[in-house]
């Protein structure tokens, strides 16, 4: 008993410190451990949030610190909610969000299903497939800009090869119709492997005996897929959707690198718009209100989604 670790630690603790700690209750010791974390949380998350809410009711501009700051009530919120350009950027965000998640889940699950099968070179293929998500978004954005180049871009040549169209007859990044899809394609290329990995984890967590029992019951492969595979992978899939949804709602770097929000404002997602308002136009009060609206939107949607996810898990 005496050579146990806890006793050795107790012996090694300086007498003065031991005396001090001995006088503390368990709750006090717990606070000592948790306190720094709570302090950091308050300082880094809660305080800025409260400060942002406060600023959202003002006309404050961070580049005009000499100017008087007035409280203007809900004026910023009213302006944002009645601004057609803001709604256009929300539409662009919704388009990006929906289609990236749709394609990533579809292709990611299909890839996971294929990779889950035992075949030669399985590991190498898995590594190759996950490569895109290891790259920096700035690098990905940059080289896809070249791939989309109408005169020398590989993408246009591939499309031209299959369709017979002139490669320079269409501009993926410069066309109002194609630019929203061009960013969907790049994000899907980059982040499908992430969804695939989560789905793969889900597929590998399904015990073989369930399939064996289904085989005994002579369930067809299709039946097994819809009654065993899909329901058991569903929580994982929903988790992937949650991660990708939150990530893509705040998408910035990749799209800025690809289109800069253009042509015009076609691919100006909410986060790009917010950055322009906050750090280029320096409308700090206005952009704080916009940030709060986005925060409430994401928080609300995520809460509803997490409840749904928990229900699926309980099934």
């Amino acid at each position: 008993m005496s050579d146990k670790t806890i006793n050795r630690v107790a012996k090694a603790t300086p007498r003065r410190l031991a005396r001090k700690v001995r006088g503390l209750s368990d709750r006090a010791i717990a606070w000592i451990f948790v306190g720094p974390t709570i302090f950091l949380l308050l300082a880094i998350n809660i305080f800025p949030l409260i400060w942002t809410i406060n600023l959202s009711f003002t006309n404050f501009k961070a580049n005009r610190i000499n100017r008087a700051v007035d409280y203007i009530g809900l004026r910023n919120y009213e302006r944002i909610l009645t601004d057609g350009d803001i709604w256009l950027s929300m539409q662009a965000t919704a388009h990006f969000l929906f289609w990236t998640i749709f394609f990533q889940v579809l292709i990611g699950f299909a890839l996971a299903w294929l990779i889950n099968r035992k075949f030669k070179g399985n590991d190498i293929w898995t590594t190759i497939i996950v490569l895109p998500m290891m790259l920096s978004p700035a690098v990905v954005g940059n080289f896809w800009t070249f791939l989309y180049q109408p005169q020398i871009g590989l993408f246009n040549y591939v499309v031209a090869f299959f369709t017979g169209a002139d490669p320079s007859s269409f501009e993926m990044l410069g066309s109002v119709d194609l630019a929203p899809w061009s960013i969907v394609i790049v994000d899907t290329w980059m982040w499908t492997p992430f969804v695939m990995l989560i789905c793969l984890a889900g597929l590998r967590s399904i015990p073989d005996y369930i399939y064996e029992a289904a085989e005994v019951d002579r369930a067809s492969k299709l039946r097994q897929f819809f009654t065993i595979t899909i329901p058991m992978v569903m929580p994982f899939l929903m988790l992937a959707v949650l991660f990708r949804g939150i990530e893509n709602f705040k998408m910035f770097d990749l799209v800025v690198q690809l289109t800069g929000g253009g042509p015009g404002s076609t691919t100006e997602l909410a986060s790009i718009n917010l950055k322009r308002e906050a750090f280029e136009k320096w409308r700090t009060g206005y952009s704080s209100a916009f940030a709060i609206i986005l925060f409430v939107t994401v928080f609300g949607l995520a809460s509803i989604y997490v409840k749904a996810l928990n229900k699926v898990k309980e099934r």
Binding site: I65, N66, P150, V176, V256, G261, G262, G264, E280
Partner: protein
């Protein structure tokens, strides 16, 4: 007694420290955009280092990030830069927000007269409020948006004959905006030496200031004004005048019919690349790049020539260029002012021009040999006579971003009409000025 001695010693120590501080060599940091003239300034500044004993370091930021990076630095009261060669539009914000040191007293003490510099550059780069004798910068780099073209193509007999056949006139430097478009359209998609070439590289960039600088190159020659009466912020009928609408439609037609494919987000770098790669017959860009282009082994020398932005109803070029200011947050202001005094000397200004910087000093510009000193020198003088600048208000960034959006929406994204784009621009600008309490 002891306390008396201590006080005396303290005073002596403080005085000695102060003296040592003024006499000691400082390391000055000069901030500017990363481009050809910046390299010339590094070379030029070596003389200052040798003369003054101070050492210089430089912080050069690529153009697309220059405004963001430097304005953030100023707004946060950063001490990165002792000297800043900031864009002309920053002068209002620099002065009103206390970022720049007011230089009037220093100019008086150092014997620097603003009369020694070209009027247009003093007005644009140094004064705030505009045109008043309140100086926050010394004109450092005169600049305007101009054009360059493939002289070797323009001189080829087969091309000249084809142009004559198509247009009924000789192929030559354009004398109007419409001629410019006609020439660009002539070259668009033409086969030259087995390669498909295009008309011209123009500015269409969305993120910083590109498309605004390009569009104003058409707006000014048509007679565009920001206000009906200067200082009144009365924009209705000026910003969206019929001439402005016509000019904007012209620029869109130019973009759609005479630029290379995929040219949807192009500024200085893309313009230079398109020209140097032999893709375009003409290109717009800042005069600052012309020395480098003329020296280019591929397309420079006999193959290139330059012209001023052509007039239409009026002569007008978009102003570039910058003044050099002392940053008020610097703790090396004395040494920074020393640099400005040195830089303002006529002989230093002459060397500055010789190295590829565009001096705004009258002794350089009025020198009888100036026009012949470079193939673009005469054009530079002509351009600087009719330059116009964007708003220089402290809220210029908001005004600029609104224009970037409205112009890109119309020209590149093909949304709405020119009239609608300019009407919306007035709405945006009105809102900004109302927020500022100026309307």
């Amino acid at each position: 007694m002891n306390s008396h001695k201590l006080a005396t010693a303290s005073v002596i120590a403080i005085a000695a420290a102060t003296f040592a501080n003024t006499a000691q060599a400082e390391e000055l940091t000069l901030c500017w955009a990363a481009w050809d003239p910046a390299n010339a300034l590094v070379e030029l500044s070596k003389e200052f280092e040798a003369e003054s004993g101070h050492s210089m370091s430089f912080e050069f930021v690529p153009w697309p990030n220059f405004a963001d990076r430097m304005l953030n630095e100023l707004n946060s009261g950063g001490q990165l830069c002792d000297l800043l060669i900031g864009d002309s539009q920053w002068i209002g914000g620099g002065a009103e927000n206390g970022h720049y040191v007011k230089l009037n007293d220093f100019f008086d003490t150092a014997g620097i007269s603003m009369d020694d510099f070209a009027d247009a550059t003093v007005y644009a780069y140094s004064t705030w409020p505009k045109g008043t004798p309140n100086y926050y910068a010394l004109p450092a780099m005169g600049d305007a948006n101009g054009w360059f073209y493939r002289k070797d193509w323009f001189e080829r007999e087969d091309i000249r004959a084809a142009f004559m056949e198509q247009t009924g006139r000789e192929l030559a430097e354009p004398t109007s905006q419409l001629e410019l478009l006609e020439i660009a359209q002539f070259f668009q998609g033409r086969e030259i030496d087995g390669n498909t070439v295009y008309g011209a590289a123009i500015f269409t960039e969305r993120g910083s200031e590109g498309i605004t600088m390009g569009v104003t190159g058409a707006l000014y020659p048509w007679g565009f004004k920001y206000e009906n009466t200067p200082g009144s912020y009365d924009m209705e009928g000026a910003v969206n005048s019929p001439e402005a609408v016509e000019a904007l439609e012209f620029y869109k037609e130019f973009y759609q019919t005479a630029t290379p494919p995929g040219y949807t987000n192009a500024y200085m770098g893309e313009s230079l690349d398109a020209f140097k790669s032999g893709q375009v017959a003409m290109a717009m860009n800042w005069f600052a790049f012309f020395p480098g282009l003329y020296a280019d082994p591929g397309v420079g020398g006999d193959k290139i020539d330059f012209f001023v932005n052509p007039p239409q109803n009026y002569a007008g070029s978009t102003l570039g260029g910058q003044g050099i200011s002392v940053v008020s947050y610097s703790d090396k202001q004395d040494a920074a002012l020393e640099y400005i005094a040195w830089f303002a000397q006529p002989e230093v200004q002459a060397k500055w021009w010789g190295l590829g910087g565009y001096s705004a000093h009258n002794s350089v510009l009025n020198d009888p040999g100036f026009e012949a000193s470079a193939p673009f020198a005469g054009d530079f003088l002509v351009a600087m006579q009719d330059v116009k600048d964007f708003w220089q208000e402290p809220v210029y960034a908001e005004l600029l971003l609104s224009m970037q959006k409205r112009m890109h929406d119309y020209v590149v994204a093909d949304q709405g009409t020119a009239q609608e784009a300019l009407d919306l621009l007035i709405q945006d600008w009105t809102e900004v000025f109302e927020d500022e309490g100026k309307l």
